[in-house]
Amino acid sequence: MNELWFALILCVSSMVAGLLGALSGLGGGVVIVPLLTIAFHVDIHYAIGASLVSVIATSSGAAAAYVREGFSNIRVGMFLEIATTLGALFGAWLTTRIPTHAIGIVFGVVLLYSAWASLKQRHGAVTENPDPLALRLKLKGTLPEDDEIRTYVAQRIPAGFGLMTLAGALSGLLGIGSGAVKVLAMDQAMRLPFKVSTTTSNFMIGVTAAASAGLYWRSGYMAPSLVMPVMLGVLIGSLMGSRLLVKAEVRTLKRVFSLVIVALGVEMIVSSLTRK
């Protein structure tokens, strides 16, 4: 296989990954690493380098659309980015030190969790007594709902902050956006409205990923001829996906994609365990 064919096949596969990722809401990044390591036998370090770049591209590319919707909360995002960027620094440092099969196993577990989280019924936001810390930090906002303006205040800040540190560490360790854990932190722990959680999470993914990008770059994880087709493919696919999202019936697709992710997760765990 010469360079041109390799690049074309990679670009088309990444496009499909980006498209499915956008349609299912799981993000294209989560399947790029298994795709590269299982189907193309790429070393996991190069794979997470290419994946991280794609994650920054899709997060930034989708941001304009999210801003138009007006649900994202920049204060909540910025405050929690302290946790995700510090976590990402630690995760990226860990990647350069732990053995390859350990990265593979953690990756498999995160894939299984993401699939489970995407299918689970989500919580409705429960109004509890306003958290004084949240009020001091201005972690509140409003959103339109059924012709009226609803006010929300974040709950359980320490739990949310802790989960965000974990999300950042997983992002830095595995080169993914870890949107599933970010949404868990905001939706479940901090009880923010679901739409606020998902759109703010998208905003945060790019900044979180940028925090580990420097170390990935200087450690030689970013191979230009591999990153190029993957990044462009995922970007095109996810932009197409967000256009289609309005029309498409996503329920069945979400189930199918979750099954694919479960299969990839099991495969990563098994192959990591047998290869060592």
């Binding site: 296989m1 010469n2 360079e3 041109l4 390799f6 690049a7 193309f40 036998h41 790429v42 070393d43 996991i44 370090h45 190069y46 770049v53 920054i56 591209a57 930034s60 590319g61 941001a63 304009a64 999210y66 801003v67 138009r68 007006g70 994202s72 920049i74 204060r75 910025m78 405050f79 980015e81 302290i82 960027t85 510090l86 990402a88 620094l89 990226a92 440092w93 201005k138 790019g206 900044v207 940028a210 925090a211 580990s212 990008a213 420097g214 170390l215 770059w217 200087r218 450690s219 030689g220 191979a223 230009p224 001829s225 591999l226 990153v227 190029m228 087709p229 990044m231 462009l232 970007l235």
Partner: protein
């Protein structure tokens, strides 16, 4: 015009989109050049062997871009992409400062410090 959260968000959205468009164009240009120059068997990514040192420093990449090296041009595009969310945080610092929100100007500056540390010093 009055600075509001909504205005910061709109500017940030435009900036992110512009950044990603420029970065993707540079990567694509480098990619086309790379594929035009390399027609032989592809590089092997089965084993990790890192990247050559000239692609791991700003000066090396700048030199490569000046001499028309395709890999350096792709790397320049990747670095532009990484710079986009960093610029986003920078814009939030300015926006919060304009809103006279000292707390959030400080929080944004702290996030910026972490990003700059990781991009410049962290090893």
């Amino acid at each position: 015009m009055q600075w509001t959260d909504k205005r910061i968000e709109t500017l940030v959205g435009i900036m992110l989109r512009t950044g990603v468009t420029i970065a993707a164009t540079v990567v694509l240009a480098g990619g086309v050049l790379f594929l035009a120059q390399n027609r032989g068997p592809r590089a092997n990514f089965h084993q990790f062997h890192g990247e050559p040192p000239q692609l791991l420093s700003l000066s090396g990449i700048a030199h490569g871009v000046a001499t028309g090296d395709a890999r350096s041009i792709i790397m320049l595009g990747i670095l532009l992409l990484i710079a986009t969310p960093v610029a986003r945080v920078g814009m939030c610092i300015l926006g919060f400062a304009e809103e006279r929100d000292k707390l959030y100007a400080a929080i944004s500056s702290f996030v910026m410090a972490i990003l700059l540390y990781s991009l410049i010093f962290h090893k």
